[in-house]
């Protein structure tokens, strides 16, 4: 059975809202970072929202998600509550990882969100292993593994693709190709810049998609997940995207021209969708205002929640280093 993508106005409004939740949330994060409410590294996803939103809207509740250190968008789109994500960045016990992980290590058991991994490429074997467990336990779930194009230079990328193909594991590899691994352009780091083509040598089906277009990403993900379920094989999706901000909050962006950033901003996923909906009379200004107001309310509530969160008492410093026996089933 082939399920079709149902794109109607209500659905597009939902996708727009999801992208705006991520966009406005991260803009707020940048502010809070400047105020030193959030510390550590802060890697913003601004510009890449269509990927998380497009992919997550296809995944089932049972599927597992493995993300990177630029994962606020993945977490929000997956359904991790905004309050618990922000609390985590504040380092409070009300955070989704109890404040122990911070921005780069968001985890949430309830939504099968397996992090948050600050080692480039480190999540790929993990996702492959989760898929192996799904196959062995005859679960229908698949594992969605997000990574940047920088990760394809790591051995883990190649080792994981090989194992996933060799053992026919239900993994959806999603490469978020934003062209820069920190400050090094793809053309300076890869002999073959077409990432999707790399899947060929492992016998893995792959597609390239406009990562700035949420509808395209969703459609491509639907095709990919159907392939994974029917063929019981992995699939690689390369999403062409761009981050509008620096790699992290310490990035002065000496490696790229302002014109290039401006050019991509024209193609921005939020702007693109708003324009298309307006041009086709699917979006009233009042509706956009309502969405923005809703999102703003959610953000205000998240800030209040984070501000009110408890600090873990220092006496609890060594908790959760080892699991006690009773957690073992």
């Amino acid at each position: 059975m082939t399920s079709r993508l149902h794109i109607n106005r209500a659905h597009l409004l939902r996708q727009l809202k999801q992208m705006l939740r991520i966009r406005r949330f991260e803009e707020k994060c940048a502010e809070l970072y400047a105020l030193e409410k959030i510390r550590g590294f802060l890697h913003l996803y601004i510009g890449e929202e269509a990927i998380a939103v497009g992919v997550m809207s296809v995944l089932s509740a049972d599927d597992q998600v493995v993300a990177t250190y630029r994962e606020h968008g993945h977490a929000l789109a997956r359904g991790v509550s905004m309050g618990s994500v922000l609390s985590e960045m504040y380092g409070r016990t009300t955070g989704c990882s109890r404040g122990r992980g911070g921005s780069m290590h968001l985890f949430d058991r309830a939504t099968h969100f397996y992090g948050g991994n600050a080692i480039v490429g480190g999540g790929l074997p993990l996702a492959t292993g989760l898929a192996l467990a799904n196959k062995k336990m005859q679960r229908t779930a698949l594992t969605a593994c997000f990574f940047g194009e920088g990760a394809v230079a790591e051995g883990e990328f190649h080792e994981s693709l090989n194992l996933a193909a060799l053992w026919q594991l239900p993994v959806l590899f999603i490469c978020e190709n934003n062209n820069y691994a920190m400050g090094t352009a793809l053309t300076l780091s890869e002999s073959e810049t077409n990432i999707a083509r790399k899947a060929d040598s492992y016998g893995i089906a792959a597609a390239q998609v406009d990562g700035m277009n949420v509808v395209d990403v969703e459609a491509a993900t639907l095709e990919a997940t159907e392939y994974i379920h029917t063929q019981q094989k992995p699939y690689l999706l390369e999403c062409k995207t761009y981050r509008f901000r620096g790699h992290s909050s310490f990035d002065s962006q000496l490696y790229r021209e302002k014109e290039e950033v401006a050019l991509w901003e024209e193609k921005g996923p939020v702007r693109q969708l708003v324009q298309w909906m307006r041009n086709n009379s699917h979006l009233l200004d009042s509706e956009l205002d309502d969405i923005e107001k809703d999102v703003d309310k959610e953000i205000q509530a998240a800030v209040r929640f984070a501000e009110a969160g408890e600090w873990e008492p220092v006496e609890d410093l060594s908790r959760d280093v080892y699991s006690p026996r009773q957690t073992h089933r």
Binding site: F107, G129, L163, T327
Partner: protein, 327 residues
């Protein structure tokens, strides 16, 4: 069931067989564990017995398959990952240290990694520097990991089951020089895996060691006995967490200690234990703690040089006597 005599290798295999029989979620994965029968022949015959779904040959990609083991453990399986030797585990160190050891903590206790990784370790087979090193000290440094060193046939037989019953990532180091040794396996484990054991009681000096050096320490204790020195031999068994009470109680009884560790002395586990004794047992000491470790060279290939680089019975005896004589 009475005690049985078998080789250390057979004891390891019996442990694996039991684990595979007891829990359908358990599988063994690693390089050459199936068709080849295991690089050290530990898993020989298991493929025929349990099939390719549970005895899984992997390509040569330590980081990849160790990481897959971590993911499978997270997904509810009980993987036993065999890394051919600890030397190759350095290729997987990122997955072990950055992922397996940290996930529980970084997720605020939401996820745990019930993974067992087995690796061969140690020198003595003239395999030169890239196959002979003792990196278990590295792993014993990492919070979030448990590190086991089965020195006896009983531990070879039972520690795997204990490790699988533990919800944390557990690393088991199997010293290659023990594999062919015959020994006795009782019908139940000697003690919980995290407990250090007195393998030979004594009153004059504590010889503290683990793994492949336990037989050497026991032989040294026999020789010391002939000279009227009563040496107590402490088998650490678990290198992380360390059973401090047992080793400190031994030192409080004997008032002297020699540590035997196949790692290099600089930055060694022996150094850590020496510091523990200094911090918590200083007033019970009658002499400075001494260490017998490997010479500070990459382990050489020629037999005489390799043997010269490793802790030997004679060195243990000489060092123990020097401690006794206050030299």
């Amino acid at each position: 069931m009475a005690s049985e005599t078998m080789s250390y290798r057979e004891a390891l295999r019996a442990g694996l067989e039991e684990a595979l029989n007891q829990d359908p979620r358990v599988f063994l994965m690693g390089e050459d564990v199936g068709r080849y029968g295991g690089c050290y022949a530990v898993s020989k015959g298991l493929l025929a017995q349990f099939g390719a779904e549970r005895i899984i040959d992997t390509p040569l990609c330590e980081s990849g398959f160790v990481g897959v083991g971590i993911g499978a453990a997270l997904g509810g399986m009980r993987p036993i990952v065999e890394v051919m030797t600890v030397n190759f585990s350095l290729l997987a160190m990122d997955q072990i240290v950055n992922t397996a050891a940290t996930l529980r903590h970084m997720s605020g206790g939401q996820f745990h990694v019930p993974l067992v990784i087995r690796m061969a370790c140690g020198a003595g087979r003239q395999l030169a520097a890239q196959h002979s090193h003792s990196w278990e000290n590295f792993y014993a440094h990492i919070p979030g990991l448990k590190v086991l060193s089965p020195a006896t046939h009983s531990d070879a037989r039972y520690m795997l089951g204990q490790a699988l019953a533990d919800p944390n990532p557990v690393l088991i180091f199997e010293h290659v020089m023990l594999l062919n040794e015959p020994g006795t396996v009782p019908d139940k484990p000697d003690a919980p895996m995290e407990t250090a054991l007195i393998r030979r009681p004594g009153t004059d000096i504590s010889l503290i060691t683990y793994g492949g050096n336990l037989p050497k320490a026991l032989t040294a204790a026999e020789q010391l006995q002939q000279d009227g020195i009563s040496a107590e031999v402490v088998d650490l068994r678990c290198l992380r967490p360390l059973d401090k009470p047992t080793l400190l109680n031994s030192v409080r009884k004997t008032h002297r200690a020699v540590l035997i560790d196949e790692g290099w002395q600089t930055g060694s586990l022996a150094g850590e234990i020496s510091a523990i004794i200094m911090e918590d047992g200083f007033w019970s000491l009658d002499a400075p703690v001494r260490r017998v470790c490997s010479a500070e060279v990459p382990i050489p290939y020629p037999r005489h040089l390799e043997q010269a680089a490793l802790p030997q019975v004679e060195q243990i005896v000489t060092t123990a006597k020097a401690v006794m004589e206050g030299r």
